[in-house]
Each structure stands twice: as C-alpha cells, then as structure tokens.
Symmetry: C2
Subunit: 269 residues, 2 copies
Amino acid sequence: MAGAKGLSINLATVRQQFDLQQACEACARQGIEWVAPWRDQLAKVGAAEAARIIAGSGLRVTGLCRGGMFTTDPNAIDDNRRAIDEAATIGADHLVLVVGGLPAGSRDLAAARQKVAEGLAAVLPYARAAKIPLAIEPLHPMYAPDRAVINTLAQALDLCSALGEGVGVVLDTYHLWWDPELLPQIARAGRDKRILAHHISDFLVPTRDLLNDRGMMGDGVIDFKGFRHAVEAAGFTGPQEVELFSHDWWGKPGDQVIATCIERFNAFC
Amino acid sequence: MAGAKGLSINLATVRQQFDLQQACEACARQGIEWVAPWRDQLAKVGAAEAARIIAGSGLRVTGLCRGGMFTTDPNAIDDNRRAIDEAATIGADHLVLVVGGLPAGSRDLAAARQKVAEGLAAVLPYARAAKIPLAIEPLHPMYAPDRAVINTLAQALDLCSALGEGVGVVLDTYHLWWDPELLPQIARAGRDKRILAHHISDFLVPTRDLLNDRGMMGDGVIDFKGFRHAVEAAGFTGPQEVELFSHDWWGKPGDQVIATCIERFNAFC
C-alpha cells in the first residue's frame, strides 16, 4: 500500500464506528496526517479537549464541518460565530459552510439565496478577526431543496467576489463533477485565490439514497485524476479530503474503511 | 374544476394503468386536448394505428418521447431516424431527445458530450427533411451518469447554436428549477427561438428514488408560476406537459391521476 500523504479523512466517513479519539488514533495508526471533524464530534468532549485529542494523535485539521444553514436556522449568525470559535480552537484551516436549503414551505429560491448572501456578510467580519476562512461548499443540485441553495461553483465564486476577503470555496468531486462549466470555473477559482479545500467521493450508479449512498473512489463514475489535475493547475496542492456519507461503508469496520480510502486514493486520485 | 385547456398529458404519467387507447380516451373524457406518447406505446399497435387512436380521440400530440441515447446505443442514428418517422406519422410537434449518459465503464464526460453533438449533427438533416424539430431535454445533473450528459439549459442552448436550424429545447421544471442561471437562460432560449416544450412535475422532499419519485405539482418545492411567467415572457405559450414518473401515482386509478393533474395545473401552474 502506498502512503497516506496528501489525504485527509473527513470524520463523517467513520462516524458510526468511532468516536473522535478512536477515529484520530485509527487515522494516525495508518499514517494519515489530516482529519476534518464535525461539530457534534467536538461537542461530545468540548472543543479544547478535541484539540488535545487531535494534536495528541499528531494530526492537523483541514476543515471543521460545518457552519452555514443561514436560510433555516433562526440563530444562524450566533451559531456560525460559535463554529468559528471552535474552528480556531482546534486549529482548523477553514470552516466548511453548508449554506442551507429552502425554508419549510417556501418555494422562493431567489429569496433563500439572498438570505445566504446576507448571512455570510453578517458572519464574515467575525471570521476575518478570528483568521478562519469561510469555505462555501456548493452542493449538488439535488440538495437545493433541503441543504444548500448554492449549487454551482460559478454561483459560489460570484458570491465570494461580492463578499471580498476571508471567504472561499470547497471543491467537492461529488457535488461538482457533472458541471459543464467545471474546468473554467476551477481555473477561475484559482485565479481568484478562492480554493480552500478539495473533497473526494464517488457518484454511484445506481444511487439508492440521495444523501447516504456516496461511493468510495473508484466505485462510481467520477474522473478523479482529471479533477485533481484541474485543481492543481489552479494552484491548490493541499490535501484531498475523503468524505463518505454511506450506509454501506458505515457498516464496515472503521480500520478497513480508512485502509480502503488510502488504497483508493492512491489508485484513483 | 377549471378546464384542461393548455395542458398536455405525457402518457408516461399513466403508463402502468392504461394502454394507448385507454389513455387517449381517458384524457379526452376529461377535456384534455394534447398528449405526448412514448415509442413503446406506439410500438404495441404500430405508429399508423397510434395516429388513428390519438386523432380519433380528438387529441393532438406535443412531443413524441423519445429519441437520443447517442452515447450508449450503437444503432442510435438509425433508431433516431425511425423515431423521426414515427413522430411525423403521429403528427407530433417535435421529437424529445434524452441524449444518453456515460457509456458503461466510462468516466469521460467530455467524450460523451462530444458524441452527443456528433449524433445530433448526424440525425439533424433527416429531421429537417421530415419537418420534425429535435427537442433536446437537459436533464437534472443527477442523471448525468446514466441518462443524459446535457445537464443545464445553457449547455443545451450552446449545442443548439452550434447545430443551427431544426433543433431546440425542452424546458422541464423538474430538471431545471434549481439552476442559478435559469431565468437569463430561459430568456436566451426565447430570443434564440429554441423553446419547443414546457414540461411540468414537482421535486419532492424527500425524494426517495432518483428516477421514479417525481411529484405532482404542488406537492414539492418548485415555483411553477414563476417558471411559467419566465417561459411566457420568452415567447412560448404552448401547452404545459405534465410528465410524472412516480411509483406512487402509477399505483392510483388513471382517471384520478388525470383529474389531479388538471386540478393541480389550475391551482399551481
């Protein structure tokens, strides 16, 4: 097996198998250098203790998942500020934002998108002061109703341009691979210095569950090397972060899942 | 109940309940003036007999579904020519094209998209001679792997511009509602005189099946009136065609499904 250098494990990938300490130890044992924890994983031990667990395992943090939800959480601004604090406490490179879908009963996409822009603008000064970049993650259009009304890279980059410094994007293969504008928009993201993260997981055929049937790299239809070349040509050479929401993989032993991530990363990405 | 004027029933909507004759009679009984049959429904009786059944019920045809599949069917060109003949036989306004997804085992989206462009160019002279416009249907990005690698209206319109006369687009709420570029691209489609059809169905939350869980208008998140206003402002005032692939609605009596289509069309569209 080749090495795990350049790979980050998003800890949602093994959330059913491991708590934070177990996940970090398992990653470290297999030579992983980066992880991306979720806030509920931090909440169980407190952010300061989480920081000790992560650093104590010799790991660094790509992103903290997640802030956002500007459209549906009435306390979103306060909650995002707390998320920024937590990201700073654990030394995260950035805070990942899932911006929120349509509010219950609403069919007004334009209003929801406006609310996202306003929420980001409200949180951004706090993020700048904390030196935690906000990483907008454009999600696949199938998540527009209930998770994120930012659905293309172009749309996310337009938002970044309007907001100024301190905000960038997550480039996630699963969400973006289908976009006819993908390559020019990745190049633009590089020119604009907006690339904060590069997430990987595969799109399965058939996909049996809209949320929790993401594929291990190599099991689906995504050309990871092509995506990676575009990202690297745009100037981003940070870790690739594998993030699998998958009932299938949650059902396997965590050590096996991490080993497979490393193996497939080396073979396909 | 308000009238059914301006509504077309895509016969996939009642394909489990009715054969072609039953479907046409049921539509006519409820005042429907337009239908859109599928080729397998034609094949059971032959296109000439299908034309007699449809006209005999006093119905006209919006689109024939479907041609396309340029990326996966080795006989796609011949098959599309046959589809054009069938469309002419039944007096269809246009032939709907689902262009095809990635070939089995391929991860090369760019190559698949190129093959679609070449297939369209190969079929187009035959379509022009038959005076059957080819209607490219951009499908939701979740269908890029296995059904259509044309996934945005902008991409479809770029293709139309490259191909010239005799080709246009289907504007389907289900496939396009999420697109941040939707309104300007609908306006562009109007300016370019490319709008051939306006399909309606709703996006449900949750969506439990990627293919066969489309929603009746009003049951999901789509703003049909906003979509319709954009389409009409772009100059298209043809029928709205309801097309439901839905295990739920296939399980109900066909007359009830058609009545509900009419009722919801009047209430929400």
